[in-house]
């Protein structure tokens, strides 16, 4: 049983959903149609195409990539006192390699699209 305050919140939320702009409504309708189409057209992808199949190798590749990046980054900054202490960068790399959530995200192709976009923005700012 909802009190007046809860009912007011519900009514307000209902109104916000009812007043969505036309473009968002259209996109939601498109998404719904697309989803329903998969019901009829859905075919299982080939097993070798499944992303989970590639997860271990992708994670390993990313680990190597991170290590290479780290070495390049280190050389670029010309740190002569190498090995004296673990710097923040090394700690960050180890943290990422030890965190399953991070590895899941790093195995996601979207992450690399995002990173590429960010690098593009960075070089844009630099110019």
């Amino acid at each position: 049983m909802q009190d007046d305050f809860e009912q007011k919140i519900k009514a307000s939320l209902d109104e916000s959903a009812a007043n969505l702009d036309a473009d968002t409504r259209k996109r939601l309708a498109d998404i719904r149609r697309q989803a329903l189409n998969t019901q009829t057209n859905h075919a299982k992808p080939a097993r070798w195409l499944a992303l989970s199949h590639w997860l271990p190798s992708t994670s390993l590749a990313f680990g190597v990539l991170l290590a290479l990046f780290f070495v390049a980054h280190h050389q670029q900054h010309n740190r002569t006192e190498f090995g004296a202490e673990l710097g923040a960068d090394q700690v960050a790399v180890f943290e990422m390699l030890n965190n399953t959530d991070d590895l899941d995200t790093l195995s996601d192709p979207d992450f690399y699209l995002w990173a590429d976009e960010q690098l593009g923005n960075e070089s844009g700012h630099a110019v």
Partner: protein, 173 residues
Amino acid sequence: MHVFLAEIETRAFRMAQLATGNRDDALDIVQDAMMKLVQKYSTHDQASWKPLFYSILESRILDWHRRQQVRNRFRSWLHWDTDDEDAEDALAQHPEETSIIPDFQLQDAQFMQNLELALQALPLRQQQVFLLRIWEGLDIYQTAAAMQCSESSVKTHYARALEKLREQLEGHR
């Protein structure tokens, strides 16, 4: 299935938008949830669609937050700009169009704006439980199933969320 999806799509979108603060990401999340429901559960009993759909949606929202955390760590690690283009300007989502509407509607608009900010300020789990219970009308058992937590956690999250909202929106009551 078509009727079911059409009936819940706007609420699902608003929930995802409140959780992410981003329209396009919210649409992507709703799309993923609809696709998975249709592909995996369309043959299930119709009564189970709603809790299943929201279970998928909540899981996608959590994934989104995890990805954002990793991206933010990368940003700070690589000293990229901290301007988050994914997070749309909150003000841009609340256009100033209240000047020509009557007082009672203005109050409603202000309440909605403050409610939205208060909901976004809630911890994610509290926000999700609150919306599933009050808006989608899921019972405690269904909410616990959708959120993959215990029924007592649902009660606690809901009570805390409601208490915070009462505090935040005191002036509107």
